[in-house]
Amino acid sequence: MSTATATYDEHHEHGPDKGLIRWITTTNHKDIGTLYLVFALIMFFIGGAMAMVIRAELFQPGMQLVDPQFFNSMTTVHALVMIFGAVMPAFTGLANWLIPMMIGAPDMALPRMNNLSFWILPFAFTLLLSTFFMDGGGPAGGWTLYPPLALQMGDGFPFMIFAIHLAGISSIMGSINVIVTILNMRAPGMTLMKMPLFVWTWLITAYLLIATMPVLAGAVTMLLTDKFAGTSFFNAAGGGDPVMYQHIFWFFGHPEVYILILPAFGIISAIVPTFARKPLFGYSSMVYATASIAFLSFIVWAHHMFTVGMPVVGELFFMYATMMIAVPTGVKVFNWVSTMWKGAMTFETPMLFAIGFIMMFTIGGFSGLMLAIAPADFQYHDTYFVVAHFHYVLVTGAIYSIMAATYYWLPKWTGNMYDERLGKIHFWLSTISVNVLFFPQHFLGLAGMPRRIPDYSVQFADWNMVSSIGGFVFGASQLLFLWMVIKAIRGGEKASDQVWEGANGLEWTLPSPPPYHSFTEAPAIK
């Protein structure tokens, strides 16, 4: 697991502790980055196992393997684990590893808080997963936890709420660290508009987290007091309104989906120029596009709830505001394509994942535009079309970017090249299977198959079987990824300092692997 031990003998007094205690007490950004990434990988496989249960049950019509309550808890916890346990910690892990090395800082600004913000996470998810062993089982009302359904959960309810509180506190602390590091710790000469885009996108993401995570914490606290303290925030009998929960939740929830994708934009903006051997096209427009997406994310939340009975004026406002997001997003896709235009391109695994991201994220973006059309959304709402849409933007979007980042920076972190041949096999297996998995779900949704239901009418049988086969292959392909990461950590062909011929940026000026303490003296910025 140790990836940064190469040079600590020279500075023995500053080197890491031995054994397990190193990982518990560490305040080193590289160690904490590794912890986050390993945690995210574990959660990715736990959440993935739940997805396999879902696809196995949906392989055929009728009730096969699990009872409906358990099926619903699988969909609910799969989402919670993947969002809060896999994608967000993976991005925070990348931020920990990369931001100090990219801006020429010796470490994160608040190293002790950094340690705390990671170590809260295992407790949060132990709480969440422990609900499966309690009376009433795990949460089964959907990850959005709409009342009154969510309030009908059994004994595990407070455990789930506290798990969300803890995960929220962890990501707020992580964001504080990111913001303070970026604002205060940049090497002299590293002006804001010289920062790599990954740093920029994370800065904006961190602000989104600071602004929305407390709102989620408030919403779930209201659920908690509605259930146990006799308040009536969402209880109609007491004068409350369950629809209000949806407004508060999605006020958090929509910025949250950009929290899950903005760092991905930063990663792709780092990888594409490297393998196209050209500087990024339109750097400043990328920064402004990211900021506009972040701003717009606060005024579009009700497009998740077109069917609750809004006035037409409201539906039109949220519909047009949502469509407006396609403009800055289009700027980004245009810039990536323009960066590749007439570039001397090579197609190593990180580049394959980056191009896969651009293609398939755009497909997800287009289905998002379809969902944004309020009158059409009445047909698509709560169907598999929505499931297909958000898996295109989250799996082939966010997850693909994390895989691209792993392949891209793993040689830097470990000093060893990953197995390029296996990497390419992993990419092609994943890309073919993920499309077999999710593309048919568009058809199922348009034909009217509802989401979160363990059974379906027989006319949906064929595409569900195809989708499940894609799911099993995609799930199995990720074991290949796990194996490759372990293999690269344990050894392999040594990587050069620059690793990639076209790579630019401060992190590539450090040795591979970088010393335990890097940039103790600020580097000179050209």
Binding site: P214, G230, A237
Partner: protein, 181 residues
Amino acid sequence: MAGADRNQRSVRHIVLVAAAMFGFGYLLVPLYNVFCEITGLNGKTGRIEEAEVAASYRPDPSRTVTIQFVASNSAGMPWNFRPAVATMAVHPGQLYATYFVAANHTGRRMVAQAIPSMAPTRAARYFNKTECFCFNQQPLEAGEEKEMPLRFIVDPRLPKDIKTLTLVYSLFEVTGRTASR
């Protein structure tokens, strides 16, 4: 160290923002209620004092609007609950009275709260009540049956294209809970 001071100042600012956003989440609750009352969103119907009726409205006998009454029980509510009449033809601006019938066939005293909702929702703010069993919690002894009165008036400013209003009362059991509003 100057750098550490700067970091602490930044942290204080960001923590303040996070705390403010937690408060903002709660602030959304009264904001939402005010917004719904003004716009009639979510079918929240209005209330008016009987004394104000004559001053505010003039009956419009040339126009007739159909009111449909629907009674519904929330999950776990065992009462028999129905409107006395299913529909009424009314003139906007004129005061009408009707009632719902609730019967508690269980063997225990129960308290219920009725919550109104109106469709289409944009009509809700033109539908005002001078008296309604939904203004208070309603107790019924075991086996008791009761007529629950409702006096209402439709605002003549109701948009012309609306010809039918549906008023739904959902009954919730609140035995043992004190009225929160």
